[in-house]
Amino acid sequence: MASRDPSTWGNGHVPGIEFLIKALTPLNILLAVGGVIAGTVIGALPGLTATMAVAVLVPLTFGMEPASALIALGAIYTGAIYGGAYSAVLLNTPGTPSAIATTFDGYPMARRGDGDLAITLACLASVTGGLVGAAFLLLLAPPLAKFALQFGPVEYFWLAVFGLTLIAALSEGSVLRGLIGGCIGLLLSAIGTAEVGGDIRYTGELKSLLGGIDVVSALIGLYCVPVLMDLVATPDPHLKLTHEVAGFRFREALRIAWRSKSNLARSSVIGTLVGILPGAGGSIASLVAYAEARRVSKNPSSFGKGEPNGILATESSNNATVGGGFIPTLVLGIPGTPPDAVILGALLVQGIRTGPSLFSEQSQIVYTFIYGLFLATILMLPIGLVIGRYAFKSIVSIPKAALVPSVAFLTILGSYAVHNNAHETQQMVVLGLIAWVLGRFGFTASPIVLGLILGTIAESGFVQGYLIGNAKGSALMEFLTRPLSAGIIAFILLTLLYPLVKGRIGAPKLPSNE
């Protein structure tokens, strides 16, 4: 048993450094390696999310020591978030919702033959983001948890509106098509039993729609099905191999990452901060980071066409949400992200009570876990590179006749696994066909998915904020005068007006294609 003397930590030097040694037992290292491998593989399969990876493997951890169990779960989680990048890059299908924005530049890179470089970049970015998130968890957890609590329903509403403004920034070619896509997504989010109020909407008497459209089945349908149909419809190979797959292109990736260190740092911090907010999550974090990277870029028109900085931004921010999400989970006992909810349940079964006292009373477990998370993140570099290269090689070398059926099989499996139910598979197929048709008319999947995810958040935030505001006297004041709300509204205006303002002062050197 470690000493509980508070004087050994929290006064200047890194807290709980003595627990680093504890984290480094052979068993824990083995668990971290196994966890990262299992997580990466599960995350890479379309439809199998980080939440599922953690949930499936939770029972295995009940026989373990609490700290070891936590290390294994943290490793699975962080691996799965990284693994989601593979299918985003190679199949244009986000393996997890966190990897939606990775498709924007990852798939164009793969199409032009740089899939291996994209995956190595994703690996470097994920490790960087993971380490930044874990560092915030180690050093600043209690104050950051307090910050998260400042976000009430009204702030979530404005945050969702902010996310919706990004649709305009992210839609390529036609802003109008992007906005229409976003509206389709918002309408889809209204289907089913209303989260607040319990009304049943647009289900057309179908019981399979009572639960609403599931985000994961929508992801698989909207992204993956059109890719599969196009593969069958065209004679070209899926990805062209322009060069010999020899190394990892590690030096090249490292050079790019080093040049973009400010992008990596900014995106990692965005990821951590969004991760702390319960109710936001990796998908929003990576979108915000992507939009910011594009906004400050000297060359914004290259985004969406295979810009390495796009991948660096999304993959560093979504892995930073891992450490960020653990902050409210451990400090407040409120899960920061959906996988955290599963981990919190596992902790309760283990008999660990989270909350502010956890850091003082059970500091041994907490710090061993945090160092374990560092360990798992660092291990992700070699493991991720090796698995990534293998994934790339197999996707480019498998003949199309084998690739299409196996991916199609995975889409069925993944959508069924969402709720162990065929309803989600039906939704996936229908949405996939709709997406393919819409694709003919130049609509892309991302605005639809964004509308679907953000619509739910905006709606509950609005109704809850309205109820609370009315109880206080004025709903309008509640929405407009809270300091954080005002800040987010300012950001929304900045995003919307920035292109106009930028056009007025200092004419841009590069012609924009919008």
Binding site: L149, G211, G345, L467, I468
Partner: protein, 317 residues
């Protein structure tokens, strides 16, 4: 032909008899109608090792979330009734959902076998709240009707019902703000977005010092929350909460139901299990299959009365 069919019948009977005698002789599929990490999951996880201890068999926990549990409950009767598929059921959900809409099952179509615990309703406020007692809270609500806000998990949930009943009992008007699940409701509570929370004893235990528990809806105080008085002590007849039990497909033979009920009853008496459950804020109850009819009739009457008052009954009587 005749003798052969007779023989087959006898053999089937013997096989069935053997199956019943040895139940359970393989892994039991334990379906949770919610996602992982919630209270239904945690209590099932706590039961898990005792299936091994008392029956020598493992259980495989499977999640089928969707439509507040309705997706899984509406499908349970199509599973084989051999005792190897069991499902967690929740009250008031399985009474309220079919009252509000056609959710694909009726309350009486679920073959409940045992109700094994409940999470009593509780009123909690942030630790720094000016409301030191339930009396303070009621006084504040009387002074400014509607201005006191409570977060709770979902519309028409056990929390919502309790809030409505208490408002009636105390003659006050408060605002209920539904959130998606306990986690989101707790976030609003700790962030002081609301005056307090209609919640459960489990939440009061989990959030510990960050909150103050003003009242629990139990007959006696909860052993883990000795400082939190009951509503009854403070003059309000309120004993309620979210009950959790187990059901099987309707086609399951009565003998198997009985054996399963006996098994859950045995687990429910294990002192170690009781301690683990109570440490987390759960409260034990025992409603085995023998008493199921009376238990369900009482609950149904109770919930239907409130549901009609709240105007949430949408289906024809």
């Amino acid at each position: 032909m005749k003798p052969l069919s007779k023989l087959l019948l006898v053999m089937a009977a013997i096989a069935a008899g053997a199956a019943i005698a040895a139940y359970p002789e393989k892994t039991i599929n334990y379906i949770i109608a919610f996602g992982p990490g919630g209270e239904s999951d945690i209590s099932a996880r706590l039961q898990e090792p005792y299936f091994k201890k008392y029956a020598g068999q493992t259980v495989a926990i499977q999640y089928k979330p969707g439509a507040g549990g309705a997706t899984a409950w509406s499908q349970i009767n199509s599973a084989p009734g051999d005792g190897y598929t069991i499902i967690g059921t929740n009250l008031p959900h399985i009474v309220l959902q079919p009252l509000q809409k056609d959710v694909g099952y009726k309350t009486d179509e679920l073959a409940n076998v045992y109700w094994f615990h409940f999470t009593p309703d509780a009123v909690v406020v942030p630790a720094g709240s000016p409301h030191k007692s339930l009396k303070d809270l009621v006084a504040a609500a009387k002074k400014a009707p509607g201005a006191t806000t409570f977060s709770g998990s979902g519309t028409n949930s056990a929390n919502h019902l309790a809030q409505q009943r208490f408002d009636k009992l105390a003659g006050i008007k408060t605002t209920y703000v539904p959130f998606k699940g306990t986690g989101a409701s707790n976030t609003a509570l700790l962030g002081k977005q609301v005056s307090g929370s209609w919640s459960y004893t489990t939440v009061a235990v989990q959030l510990g010092d960050q909150v103050r528990c003003l009242a629990v809806a139990m007959e006696k105080r909860h052993p883990i929350l000795p400082d939190c008085p009951t509503f009854k002590e403070q003059g309000y007849e309120l004993v309620s909460g979210a009950y959790r039990g187990l059901a099987v497909p309707q086609s399951t033979p009565a003998a198997v139901k009985q054996q399963l009920s006996d098994l859950i009853g045995k687990i429910n008496k294990d002192p170690e299990f009781i301690k683990k459950m109570e440490d987390k804020g759960f409260a034990m109850i025992d409603a085995p299959v023998e008493k199921m009819g009376a238990f369900m009739a009482a609950r149904k009457k109770e919930y239907e009365t409130i549901a009609r008052e709240m105007g949430i009954v949408k289906t024809k009587k």
